[in-house]
Symmetry: C2
Subunit: 250 residues, 2 copies
């Protein structure tokens, strides 16, 4: 491999007060944005980034994410995110992550599935041309948490709300920003609930883009193991998620 | 002055796609966050930062902001923010800003007024002990735009909406994040309006903190020169703003 093409990419971050949630911790949305950031930087480094895909008329789209966090960094703490390629197929690329505290002890893991979008046809693209990227899969690195599960419909919900996407929800791609999907889900619980419980496991599958002015239904159901959630517009699912809340350490 | 105590503080930034608004430009909320960031760094550098104030039981609070922008940075552009102290009195400190493009040409200015909060008494503090900070006011630096005007009540509005603050609106201080005030104001116009007009002048005066679950009224009135806006809860104003929209260059 050429220099700079490390199998495991590492980046160190510092959690500022302005980035914290009301509990003084790293918010889930920031964690997922950091995953996307290191994934993008690493993919660029090893030549499978947006620049490469765009020569084929394709672009990377994050399809599924699962995060398993035992400790969310506190304000003014340093944390480290590592990422590596864990799978490549004709339609998907998989990438895993390890999150560590400043001492290097693992505090969380994440697993992601990426698809390539054919920008013109607006459909999933064949990325067989990336097959040799499998040489970037490190032999010694394992991710000790489950992959994102198959996104299940919520079924008969126990809670329903509606929300219409506003100007501030829209990003550079002129779609609803995916962080806003997650915020909309978290907003279904009051502050006191978040003060008492933290998300120890979170899965999300992005299914359809949403647009300015679109009104969505938020549907939630506790299935015993966790909360199944779905955002949908007139029955068309936009995303499905699974949330496991655990009491915060005192 | 000791080394590191420059009268004019300068920081360079790069506008990433993830940071852009739907128009591919720097959002107003990001601009104001950058102002707060460089203000904080500079104040720390010259010894009038949070660390100094906290020894008196005080903390800095941004009270008023006016921004005047002729060009909002585009995606993947570099921009520079400069700041300096422009005034110090018994109750307020003033700080001005210049925003430049990568060639060094000014593309905007901002003027801010900061008060110190007595953390225990929850009231405005006397900061006479900072009087000698007036030596940090540069003699040669001028800010060629108007200071934030006195925050005026909206009077009889032409548009009214309501909004209840959610979990994601709350920050580390357990108040509504001030960016969310601004987003709530911008959300009163549809995407198409923002595509056609940009904010060439924006003023905001923060009056009261808002809390989780609080329902506020958004009231707007076009007074000819611009739009007067107010967020209030049962008649108690939380913030007042003034917005001037100008057609975007084609």
């Amino acid at each position: 491999m050429e220099s700079g093409q490390d199998l495991i990419f590492r980046r160190e971050y510092f959690l500022t007060p302005a980035e914290c949630n009301p509990e003084g911790r790293m918010p889930l949305t920031l964690l997922i944005n950091r995953l996307i950031e290191v994934a993008t930087l690493h993919a660029n480094d090893i030549g499978i980034g947006y620049a490469t895909l765009s020569t084929h008329g394709h672009t990377w789209v994050l399809s599924r994410v699962a995060v398993d966090v035992s400790y969310y960094p506190k304000v003014n703490e340093t944390y480290i995110v590592r990422t590596w390629v864990s799978g490549v197929s004709r339609l998907f690329s998989e990438r895993d992550f390890e999150i560590c505290d400043s001492s290097g002890a693992p505090i969380g893991y994440a697993r992601t599935v990426w698809a390539a979008l054919d920008v013109e046809k607006r459909c999933v693209a064949d990325i067989s041309y990336l097959a040799e990227a499998s040489r970037f899969i490190p032999s010694e690195k394992d991710c000790p948490v489950e992959k994102p599960s198959r996104p299940m419909p919520v079924g008969e919900e126990h809670k329903k709300a509606t929300y219409r996407f506003k100007y501030s929800d829209i990003d550079f791609n002129r779609h609803v920003n995916s962080s806003r999907y997650i915020e909309l889900l978290l907003n279904q619980w009051p502050l006191e609930y978040h003060d008492t419980y933290r998300l120890s496991r979170f899965e999300i599958a992005y299914i359809h883009e949403a647009y300015f002015g679109e009104e969505v239904e938020v549907r939630l159901k506790d299935d015993g193991a966790g909360i199944r959630a779905e955002l949908s517009d007139a029955g068309k699912p936009l995303c499905r998620a699974f949330l496991v809340y655990t009491p915060r350490e005192s």
